[in-house]
Subunit: 331 residues, 2 copies
């Protein structure tokens, strides 16, 4: 295992120390329990948004804490749900009296621990929305139903903007549910990743194989097949996405091509080109784009495609300012 780390036990703590040192103008980091809050938390009278999950998917979620996105993020150990006390403490720390939205990716451990935290944070008015946008598989290694993947990034940007402009809790919850209802994703991997604490690759793939429909922790996908040209890979990902909602001619969309961590940006743009071309052929309009490493699986090589059906309100909120360690826009 070749990694830029010291003791594998301290990976998350040291990374959080680094974030704290690099971004002290935007965030504050609390240790034991670990959570990140925006520097001006709690913002009185604003709906607070809290998310979290296992570490190893950076910049999600800690990189999204700040003006216009999240009020707090709870990083678990690598690929491990945050504990209830982390989520409880973060929830209480950002409570500005207008209620709190938990944005939770659909993994069994995450859901259980966010639910427990909401109960423990007795005074706070907490609601939860579960993101489950991955069309690859029903029920997976850590999930009942569909997994929550790239749609989470979009939900956090859009709902963060809604909370920032002053929407109340009911409105932010309804918006988050609307984003989740209109977003679909699917991913693939060329290589495995290695969890520092494990020290060995999570799975093995042959030199000419790829895994289609993989999860962000390396969970098995739909099938393992021979490596193909990028255009065919994109068709394998995008066809199930488009057919699932379904997306139809005339729809306005946001196309998000995500890197899993170990794929060069030049390849992500090759994927983007293929996806945008295929959507154009179907008469589906791409009005907004996002290309890059936004929800990763450590150093896994691969990509995921996320497609969101947009409406005017979502576009306005997407374009609204945000200022976080990973997301700088406007202001």
């Amino acid at each position: 295992m070749k990694k830029l780390i010291n003791d594998p036990e301290n990976v998350v703590t040291e990374a959080l120390r680094g974030m704290e040192l690099a971004h002290g103008d935007l965030i504050r980091v609390h240790f034991d329990p670990d959570y990140i809050v925006r520097a001006d938390a709690p913002v009185q009278g604003k709906v607070a948004i809290v998310s979290g999950g296992g570490s190893g998917h950076e910049p999600m979620h800690g990189g999204f804490v700040g003006h216009g996105m999240l009020d707090a993020a709870c990083p678990g150990a690598v690929f491990t749900s945050p504990t209830p006390d982390q989520v409880q403490a973060a929830t209480e720390a950002v409570d500005g009296g207008a209620g709190i939205l938990h944005i939770v990716k659909n993994y069994t451990g995450d859901i259980a621990n966010f639910e427990m935290a909401a109960e423990l944070a007795g005074d706070a008015n907490v609601r939860a929305v579960v993101i489950n946008d991955d069309v690859a598989v029903e029920d997976s290694l850590y999930t009942a139903g569909r997994r929550g993947v790239g749609g989470t990034v979009l939900a956090e940007k859009i709902c963060g903007a809604a909370a920032e402009r002053g929407d109340d809790l009911d409105a932010v919850v309804a918006l988050c549910e609307r984003v989740n209802a209109n977003v679909r994703s699917m991913g693939m991997a060329l290589t495995s990743c290695t969890v520092p604490h494990a020290g060995e690759p999570t799975f093995e793939l042959g030199e000419d194989e790829m895994e289609i429909g993989i999860g962000i922790h390396g969970e098995p996908g739909r099938h393992r097949v021979q490596l193909e040209p990028a255009d065919q890979i994109v068709e394998r990902l995008l066809t199930p996405i488009v057919d699932d909602l379904p997306f139809s001619q005339g729809d306005r969309t946001l196309l998000f091509v995500n890197g899993m961590g170990g794929t060069p940006q030049i390849e992500l743009y090759i994927v983007y080109r293929a996806a945008a071309t295929m959507l154009a052929d179907r008469g589906i309009t791409v009005e907004r784009s996002l290309v890059g490493d936004w929800i990763t699986s450590l150093e896994m090589a691969g990509t995921s495609i996320t497609l969101l059906k947009l409406d005017d309100e979502m576009i306005d909120l997407w374009d609204a300012p945000a200022h976080t360690p990973a997301w700088r826009q406007g202001r």
Copy 2:
């Protein structure tokens, strides 16, 4: 070779098509010869800044084209200098009558081709600044003198802001030289990368080895040694950087921890923590930070550290708005 590509011959062209489709609001892409210009080019009365180099270092330079950074970027084939006709055409396309600065990384081919382009672009008033911030080695595989690496990113941000606010060509050139005089970098690799056209890794590293002082094309560094903990690796990179300028107690700096492409962000923050701590121990102040993949070597795993000695003007320009595919700040 596992890559998300179609024909290796078309990697750059297809990636440029993807950029054009994803970022049509910010940039325009010209093909044959290939170059990227900001959507509103030429900007009359503004000094234009043109950079470029081999592809494979994304988001540099094409991701930096737009308001507040570059007017044009010339992407060569992967790890190959852009041709003189590319640079000439880009230079002519962005000429707004106030002169043009070529920011050139110190590689023999880049320098020769930018010089020839400046001669061919006969009507334009072109000046060049060569960036040579890599303290690892004197003279390398493709370089006489020191290589140009991470300092280039900082020069493009700071000088782009100066041109945007209306500085004249003499002032922008002097500023670029000042940035170059005050910036030092050094990198390391845990793994090689694979150039698509070559199909084989550029070099081999043992399972317990790393290369200290490597170049961004996999050029040999100072030494190949056994893998060490991150804190020791940082000391190997940062000590030569600090000693070279030298940086001294009381200096105000920008600390830039760069990912080579295949290193997870969580590891970059571990590197950042170690570097910031070491600088604090020496009484050197970090006033601005940049952490992420900004000048890469395809999917190479590794990091580089860049340290810039700041003055008030550089800080103002660093904080100024920019709006490019990869750099969104303000506006």
